[in-house]
Amino acid sequence: MRVSLQHLILCILVGLAGPHLVYGQVSVIANPSVPIDSLDRSDLLDLYSGDKKIWSDGQPVVVLDLKPRSGLKDAFYKYLGKSSSRMKALWLKKKLSGEGDPPASFENEALLLEHLKETPGAIGFVGFSFANETVKTLLVIPPEGS
């Protein structure tokens, strides 16, 4: 098969960009038991920074994260206005001050989704195509630049 020069250059550029490629839409999802149907950036930051720990119905908030650094994770934290490292520092400060634990983190979106479906009060984020009718979609973060 003949490969055009433009195609080859495009593949090289995609390979170099690696996990920092601009990501598509990110879906913020929650267990169906969560007593809200939508939220905004400020609410989301409160949840992920540990400022809000209990839902309005008294359920504990369970925040989920992805472990490896990826375009999806970068896009999510960029939307919150914080880098991944700053969020980690914030969680570590809370942990070492007795004010809360970091989110549970998962190796990939499938594992996160599975845990979220089984955990009342859980909230997390996945790529748009991962969200389905078994979970609540609270917010869709548009791609960067859109």
Partner: protein, 396 residues
């Protein structure tokens, strides 16, 4: 006092806890961190020789040492959704009881009730909120520094009294924040012991009172912080007031009644500011300590002031490497009769910190310190300190 206790008991009784909130008990957690370091320190002191013009004698020494600078062990248990407990043990400086090295302290032991973000109440031994760094000054994994900014560095206690600048302990603290729009307004209010704690007298092998560790007065420390957060900006002001007996016995110098320096009022005023902008971070704090007494006509006024500030500017590269420049300053001044005692400490410093992973942080720090002392009736002295330190900080 009994009315205050009664109000507190009423408040605790009235705190609501729903059935679902009583769930949420979690197993006991054990975790902690330690920081090991290597430090090379060069001290040089220039003392002017009295009576000989331009004659300066110099004394110097160099120290290199490895040490387990600090280890903290935490126990935490969530008793329910709203109640949790926390205990913090700390060991310092190669602690060894048989060799009498270092120290072992109970740093925190408290129980917390959290109603919501607006109201939490902690009861028990705790580090009070004051400026930005006080609560986390001993949380070495959180700090890029190895040597901490002056008043937050316990090893500088031999040079000046660091606990004059920051409140070390409180026993009741309420805190939280309110969110009017995009702003977050933080508050904290606390009470604790005065600084007049009964110590064990090692030389005479006795203590003043029957128990050590107790406050020997009926006064208390009260204090608090009010802060604002918006986006990546944070700032606040802090205030404490307590009463100190540390100047008792100096009435002979200043005149006045024999109890002139009993429970001298002390006020600490602090201000803090921090921000992040892209990969840059900036932190700054200011602390002023003042002492207040009644006027005594015909006697020498007691005029002691202490001031401290630091500024740190840093850059984070690829979320792993931090580089920073920092400047620390202290000025202490005591004026009485026609004399003035003064000490000025300036320390510019620079450092690097590298996050190997979520648990391990490597640090390098260089500080150049200059200490100028002026005491009445003695020649002024200047001391310089060069410190190069390397450390690894581990969270487990």
């Amino acid at each position: 006092m009994f009315r205050s206790i009664g109000l507190l008991l009423l408040l605790l009784w009235a705190l609501p806890e729903s059935a679902s909130a009583q769930q949420g008990e979690r197993p006991l957690q054990l975790f902690g961190y330690f920081q090991n370091q290597f430090q090379r320190q060069i001290e040089v002191e220039d003392a002017k020789v009295p009576g000989i013009i331009n004659r300066v004698e110099q004394f110097d020494r160099t120290i290199t040492s490895f040490s387990v600078q600090q280890l903290n062990l935490f126990l935490q248990k969530d008793l329910s959704q709203r109640w949790s407990t926390f205990i913090n043990f700390e060991v310092l400086n190669n602690f060894s009881s048989s060799r009498r090295w270092g120290a072992y302290n109970l740093e925190e032991a408290w129980i917390k009730y959290r109603y919501d973000r607006r109201f939490s109440l902690r009861l028990g031994l705790q580090v009070p909120t004051f400026n930005n760094l006080n609560e986390i000054k001993n949380r070495t994994p959180l700090l890029p520094y190895i040597v901490r900014p002056l008043v937050y560095e316990t090893s500088f206690n031999e040079i000046f009294s660091i606990d004059e600048y920051t409140p070390e302990r409180a026993f009741v603290q309420t805190y939280g924040f309110f969110s009017p729009g995009p702003l977050k307004v933080d508050y904290a209010l606390y009470v604790g012991n005065s600084p007049n704690i009964n110590n064990w007298d090692d030389q005479n092998r006795k203590s003043e009172e029957q128990q050590t560790g107790i406050d020997t007065t009926a006064t208390m420390l009260v204090g608090g912080r009010l802060g604002l957060r918006v986006n990546n900006l944070k700032g606040g002001v802090s205030l404490t007031r307590d009463f100190t007996n540390s100047f008792k016995g100096t009435e002979v110098l200043f005149g006045g009644p024999h109890d002139r320096f009993d429970e001298l009022a002390r006020t600490r005023l602090g201000a803090d500011f921090s921000m992040t902008l892209s990969n840059f971070f900036l932190e700054a704090e200011y602390i002023q300590v003042s002492y207040h007494e009644n006027d005594y006509p015909g006697t020498t006024s007691f005029n002691l002031s202490r001031a401290f500030y630091y500024v740190t500017l840093g850059y984070e590269f690829r979320e792993r490497l931090q580089f920073y420049l920092s400047y620390w300053f202290i000025k202490e001044r005591l004026v009485f009769l026609d004399n003035q005692d003064k000490a000025i400490i300036t320390i510019p410093n620079v450092g690097l910190s590298y996050l190997v992973n979520d648990s391990i942080r490597l640090k390098a720090h260089y500080a150049y310190g200059k200490v100028d002392f002026e005491e009445h009736d003695t020649p002024p002295t200047t001391q310089t300190i060069n410190i190069l330190a390397l450390a690894v900080s581990v969270v487990f």
